[in-house]
Chain length 564, copies 2
């Protein structure tokens, strides 16, 4: 195989391929030419060219999420590397294995007046799992060291908890020379042994569990099927356990689980709070979207608060953490269920009852309202094809979606590591590319959509990709945030310039659909979801700019709150 003449780079690429990295998102530059040459030459690697590094890194994040394996990104030196940072922070807080390969000038050229040269070492220091730098001019001996560094970096990617890993790669000209690949040292991946609960932990769990009557489990963001449903069922069937989830947990049981936290919390009256505060509070999974549940637990403290899972650091989100169990959720649950303890109350039933009440008000209300943001979500979710992936952009979209019961067979995605609006479209695209068997639907707002319009600037938009753009004239989140109406100027100020989404679609060859009323909204989706003959994706703009959207949300919560 003819590859780059820079041997340690050829080695790096071979080691990546042997390690199982099959997809690399490339943002081209001159300095990273040896990496591009070597990746392109490798038969086991698929390359994706994305010019905007910000978008490129989010596309890779989506690929890694769907494939459940590490994906590499590579760019040239200087600000190119800086543009990776946002997606890396998202990968860090969601423990996604992104391998970041930044080409650099030889280190002795840093701060010497050369172009595209910054201090790249430790560039991502605030949000990277591990950070490496290869030697600038490796001789034979140093090449071995370089190989070992690469091997260590690859291992760091996938040891649990996973996370993004950075290798800075100083490279010296000439950059474009080729040679046949020499033989390579072979490394065995280190094997990781899944941690088990210690006897002390087991005793602690047993005691805490048996002493509790009011048990509440809150499940944050999880990849689909990351907890075995049979294991979880043991917990779900215990009526003393209330289970609260968000759609991003990808866990569903409509009989026993409370799926819509905010609407359920709203129906609990102030004098009932004690009845709904658990003595044992257990959390699984990643980020929780609901601000209300965080506030609820910060004010109403449980006796015990256990956090279960393998994380990069300890978090005390609810300001009452008593123990962190650094094991897989299944390991923990298997032990808990092996205790064969009997239900100790109907605490779970009590929560579920509130959930049913809220749902009933929700169902009546949602049918009664006219065309608006809120109504649009109802119709979108009601008509979403089964077996789809639903991507929720940040800010108001992901919050609105939490008010609706999740849809069976749909998998839910959102960038809730850092919750930025900057890469939602690119991330959804990455997932859509990686699994073209499923329809991938992104719901986004106008600010998020224009922010990340460069997601469409590449050759990989697949036919199974759909964007639903809810255009409410921008800044919708400000109108629904508590207290923000105290500054009318802000509401006025944050409304963005009205760019034309239709023209963005034209620029990047995406089919464009538009609705601005109930009747069209109800009928558009059949055509919208039909695969196009030219295999291009589609965008639907739902224009609610003429509607006072926030009013319908305010009335909704008022109705729920005052229902009992």
């Amino acid at each position: 195989m003819e590859t780059t003449k820079i041997s340690h780079v050829a080695h790096l690429v071979e080691l990546c391929a042997n390690f199982g990295i099959s997809k690399v998102v490339v943002s081209p530059g001159s300095r990273n030419a040896p990496l591009i040459i070597a990746f392109e030459a490798h038969p086991k690697i698929d390359l994706y060219l994305v010019h905007d590094e910000r978008s490129a890194a989010f596309v890779a994040l989506g690929l890694a999420e769907e494939l459940n394996q590490p994906v590499a990104i590579t760019c040239t030196s200087g600000s190119a590397a800086i543009n990776y940072a946002s997606a890396i922070s998202e990968a860090y807080y969601r423990r996604i294995p992104l391998l970041v390969l930044t080409a650099d000038r030889p280190i002795e050229m840093v701060d010497q007046g050369d172009g595209q040269t910054i201090r790249q070492k430790n560039l991502f220091t605030n949000f990277i799992k591990a950070d490496f730098e290869l030697p600038s001019f490796p001789n034979k001996e140093m090449r071995l060291i370089s190989d070992q560094i690469v091997h260590q970096a690859l291992d760091s990617l996938v040891t649990i908890p996973q996370g993004p890993v950075h290798i800075n790669i100083p490279l010296t000209e000439p950059l474009y020379e080729l040679q046949e690949l020499e033989s390579l040292p072979v490394f065995e991946p280190h094997r990781q042994i899944q941690p088990e609960l210690s006897p002390i932990e087991k005793e602690l769990i047993q005691k805490g569990w048996e002493n509790s009557t009011k048990r509440l489990v809150l499940i944050g963001q999880l990849a689909y099927n990351s907890i075995d449903q049979n294991v979880l069922k043991g917990l779900i069937d215990d009526p003393s356990v209330a289970i609260l989830v968000e759609n991003t947990s990808n866990i569903q049981d409509f009989q026993k689980i409370c799926h819509c936290i905010d609407r359920t919390l709203e129906i609990i009256q102030p004098d009932e709070l004690a009845d709904f505060t658990p003595d044992l509070f257990i959390t699984f999974g990643g980020a929780i979207i609901s601000k209300k549940i965080k506030s609820f637990f910060r004010k109403n403290k449980p006796t015990e608060n256990w956090r279960v899972g393998q994380f990069l650091f300890v978090e005390d989100t609810y300001q009452s953490l008593s123990h962190s169990f650094d094991v897989a959720p299944e390991t923990f649950l298997n032990y808990l269920l092996s205790l064969n303890s009997l239900p100790t109350s109907n605490f779970g039933g009590r929560w579920k009852q509130k959930d049913f009440m809220a749902k009933s008000i929700h169902d009546t209300y949602i049918q009664s309202i006219p065309f608006s943001d809120f109504k649009a979500y109802e119709v979108i979710l009601d008509t979403l094809p089964e077996e789809s992936n639903l991507h929720m952009a940040n800010s108001s979209v992901v919050r609105y979606c939490q008010l609706f019961d999740p849809i069976p067979s749909v998998q839910y995605y959102s960038n809730r590591g850092v919750s930025g609006i900057d890469g939602s479209t690119s991330t959804a695209l990455g997932l859509a590319i990686a699994n073209q068997q499923r329809l991938n639907v992104l719901i986004t707002g106008d600010t998020s959509f224009f922010y990340d319009s460069n997601a469409l600037w590449n050759n990989y938009l697949p036919p199974n990709f759909r964007i639903i753009l809810i255009n409410n004239g921008g800044g919708g989140i400000f109108k629904i945030l508590e207290g923000s109406n105290q500054s009318k100027q802000i509401n006025h100020f944050v409304a963005p310039f009205q760019a034309k989404a239709s023209a963005i679609c034209e620029a990047f060859d995406v089919h464009y659909f538009y609705v601005n009323n109930d009747v069209d909204l109800e009928t558009i989706f059949e055509e919208f979801y039909t695969f196009r003959e030219d295999s291009r994706p589609c965008l639907l703009e739902i224009d609610t700019r003429a509607v006072e959207n926030e009013k319908f949300l305010k009335i909704y919560f008022d109705k729920i709150r005052t229902s009992s």
Copy 2:
């Protein structure tokens, strides 16, 4: 004045205004609402709303560059702040005073599972002049400390060498409450005394100068008029001094100065190198674009190499630095000229002679070639209205422009601190907004243009802004880089997806013009530069995709090299 109830933020804004900050680029979020409220309430501050923080920070960079005073940017917490990083690195390497105000969660909420929360302290550590953090919950005493921190940060912005300064601002809810501004502590800005040359330095300069016969001064990027032309004239008139500049130096003298380094270097034959190597080599200003001149001096070392100016750190770009004089160029030049030394050779004349020869070949050649990238630059520069600002995007644009003599009365701009392609349009826009009396013309390539298309996503596109997009099908730089043709795949691979610039213009309400041949090119500019009745800016796409552009550049250098 009614402002935010968060007093230390109201103080910060008042201190900024007193300090002379008059423009703030805002990217809205909830966490930075108190900052937006206070800036908006302030009568001395103009606010600009730009949603994409990457673009916002580059717009602010352009504003600061044109105004020659600090400009502030403010955004919400999390990845919003990360998106500032690229422009901050550019500001750092070009010593532009950008005040970066990032809102943050209270510090005790970092890494506790809240949304939009990362470790923001020291976020820009690799490229920030100074980094501060305000207290989270200041009481009266802490407010005074907060004021002092702000005062210190403001001073850090403008002490020479200037640079970007970051204040991280943790904020606690409620964020939207208002109150009347209380009375404020008043700070006097610290006065900075311009450094002078020491007696030892003076002796060193005198000796070095008088002992040298072959003197060469190389001037990199400088703001227009940053060296008094009368002071410079004394140097220019000395025939023993060769002066080489790039158009970004904004220094012009067509009789005595060599303006086009690459073409002049090309005509010097290998056996003449010793005759053209100075014994005394002096550099002023910022970055040098020419790779050839760097390579020339790294190979042909002068006896003495002096660097003059006030920089953030010592650089030895030419690998022969003997002294750094940390004074203003004028201070240095005034002393040098006070020596009243007589010319010691005709070294400067010898360089200028080569420059004339190269120019003559250039002029003949450029008239002979057909429609192509190279020809397009000739026509653009030939028809550019006087008194314009010319913005050169990075990669091939800024390199092509170096082959043409600069145009009298035109000021030249380019992001040569880090030389990224990510913010050229936004930076040019910032300058165009700040000085609407001058025409501002950006020349950009297709990759740079689409990369930063969010520059157009705001309400401030002024009528004096023109974009010339040279669309050669992308990756032009790869085709003109030495050695890159060894990997044909790369050239093929880097060609980007052909998005439609016309539709981007439609999306953001920009007038669109198109040419793809000589005849249209020669006639389009009169109409293109005419101000539009609707005050919207214009973009001209010059489509050279059908042309083998790199050929004309290769022949050009061949002709110059073999001319003597």
